[in-house]
Amino acid sequence: MSIIALGMEGGGEGFTAPDASIFWEPVIGHEATAITRPVFLMVISAILVGWFLLATTKRRALVPSKGQMMTEGVYGLVRNSIAKDIIGSHDFLRFVPLLFTMFLLILVNNFFGVIPPFNYPTMSRIGFPVALALIIWVVFHIVGMKKHGFVGYWKSLVPSGLPKGMIPAIFFLELITDLFTRPVTLGLRLFGNMFAGHILMALFISGGWYMLQAGGILPVAGAVTWLFAVVMTLFEMLVEFLQAYVFTLLSALYIAGAVADSH
């Protein structure tokens, strides 16, 4: 169901604001086993990213082409200002592929929210960000255990030099943070931002459309609303980039915390 049609529901009897149901768009099948639009978008984004990276790096040149320059710019951002600065120059290099993949995949999927033929931020379905957050969660625990050993890793959660009575409480808090809060906030932040941003844009556009069709002075308000829809779209693009950046940054931070030498 398109957003415009949604705003028109009730035959002019009143305006129905878009709600979470606008995100349910099955393409093949129905109910729980349906293959929905975001699934296709995820596949398209993976193909798109893979093709772009291969095409721009196949014939590398000392004087880079435009495409190569773009790829190198994004790669440089992830490699130097995220991975290197946060994980540290000692062992950041083996995490760069993971972080770079995460960043590009999230960025492209987020931008699908404002690019016309797609118009759907994949990450506004909770399953996708949860899967990505789970990958990061597994990775940072495993690299931490490889570095410190199983027992040593859990021991390293508690900073040394604490009074004996404090240790169980701090350990418990750190355990909740590591096992529960970190993956949940990582996934939910991405989901929430995309979900809220998309619903806000849908509200501005469908509301503006409704007012444009109403009588009296309302069309003026509708025009202003559509103007704000444009502004919100630009703001959304900023948020989409920022969320991809923040997700990668936090992933790097969690990994850095797991591989850091205990003081």
Binding site: D19, S81, T185, L188, F191, N193, A196, Y245, V246, L249
Partner: protein
């Protein structure tokens, strides 16, 4: 008047993070203004602080939709 009280809860949950994000960027701007060459170092910290503070508001909006029924 009809509506959903969950959205009021979201409004309340957005107050704290709103103030928090404001404080973080105020500190970031202050820092960069005093020492422009520290921008590269301060930027990830500022965004990190923002992301962590903002999480509360995100929980708010998620729960507003969860408890909508």
């Amino acid at each position: 008047m009809t509506g959903n009280i969950a959205i009021l809860g979201y409004g309340l949950s957005a107050i704290g993070p709103g103030i928090g994000v404001g404080l973080i960027f105020a500190a970031y701007i202050n820092g960069v203004a005093r020492q422009p060459e520290a921008r590269g170092m301060l930027q990830p910290i500022a965004f990190l602080g923002m992301a962590i503070t903002e999480a509360l508001a995100i929980f708010g909006i998620a729960l507003a939709f969860v408890f909508k029924a």
